[in-house]
Symmetry: C2
Amino acid sequence: MTFTDSLAAAWARNDSLLCVGLDPDPAKFPAHLKGRGDAILEFCKSIADATADLACAFKPQIAYFAANRAEDQLEALIRHIHEKHPGIPVILDAKRGDIGATAEQYAREAFERYGADALTVNPYMGFDSVEPYFAWKERGVVILCRTSNPGGSDLQFLETGGEGGKRRLYQHVAELVATKWNAGGQCALVVGATFPAELAEVRRLVGAMPLLVPGIGAQGGDIEATVRAGRTASGTGLMINSSRAILYAGKGEDYAAAARQVALETRDAINRWRR
Amino acid sequence: MTFTDSLAAAWARNDSLLCVGLDPDPAKFPAHLKGRGDAILEFCKSIADATADLACAFKPQIAYFAANRAEDQLEALIRHIHEKHPGIPVILDAKRGDIGATAEQYAREAFERYGADALTVNPYMGFDSVEPYFAWKERGVVILCRTSNPGGSDLQFLETGGEGGKRRLYQHVAELVATKWNAGGQCALVVGATFPAELAEVRRLVGAMPLLVPGIGAQGGDIEATVRAGRTASGTGLMINSSRAILYAGKGEDYAAAARQVALETRDAINRWRR
């Protein structure tokens, strides 16, 4: 099944647009996990098991594993999610971007080594830096468009010329992906929740393409505004990511239950504005 | 010593602007190395040992290690270079780009886990995605500006508005880095050899800032045009990268000697146009 199809199935089955971000920071782990060699894996597995029926996707962020020499735990985590929670796609958040020969190596890393269902990718180097990922036909390619961080505007909000008149760089990226890069239907875009007007503009430009939306919760984006701006006509089209607010909801041994509670509330808060 | 200082010392000591790119592809290794568990490390160590007196920097590309589950060999390689060839800086080519909290994890990965002297970074997400790396004061941050691949123009060549009149996106990035992001003097830029006129334009915009220049050799950039366009008044300022042409110069057991010969010729071909 393709990434897009399994995402659509998960939207329906779990009645959820919530993507659970897995950014494991050992310094924030409950005390009883500290010092364990497999703490990262245990922590993430517990969170995944506690939220799998509430999520449309999981998104592990590779930097948190790489900084802790825990690539093997990332491999084991994704294998665990696929075995225990089949049908919930895993998006590897690595924001890769390099020339074709190197992109092919990154694709092998993400799709073969880790078995990820989709990968986040940076568009700055252009089409041939994105194209190699499409050779894995079942996998998704989630391209940065408008990011939720303060410096997101430094380049993405610049006015650019070109055919069809003036537009911002992020609009140009959305159009490029929708009209040219997405011939195989494998693309999605990253658009931050902190800019609902721009999320609506991207939705207008890309039709029903899935959008990965970080920035609610710890980063301050508003759920109602995000859902109203980004939903498709059928009330889906979004993977609204929450990481820290869910992962670190509890500080004790019951952290997974606390995470489930926040995930449930977030899913339901999202659903209130879908239709 | 800072990255910039050790680079300047290496330029002088080895009379070289050549950066040796380490992109180890096991499919291209000499037959006698195939099947060895540490083939990547052995291959890269031999190349480094054979070219260390001819290079101003080494640039391992992390995708080639990650696709082969060889992070431990990358750690060992950089340790080996630092021990055996002190004073030759190692640039980890990973083109990272993410929000601040994640960028900090990537910085720990590059500078603490791997001990790299510099890291390549993507500017698409703006200043706060680059700033965390500056906390490691001795390390360099090499920011993508104008890349040498065919799709490099898709975004980087767009005309942008803003203060000071029209300019291309890559010019805007060069100006941003030179006038704002480089307050601590830790920055360098990536500018491809395939566009000498644009390399000259970046040199005009950034003064003596070091430029990492991929694209000679396998990618077809011309050495004379590159050096004339990119050198500083003192005939330095460049890390001209060559990877495949050096790594795969020989196919037999004498591959390191063949690599040395090509590195020597490339260094000398570069030096012909420096002054």
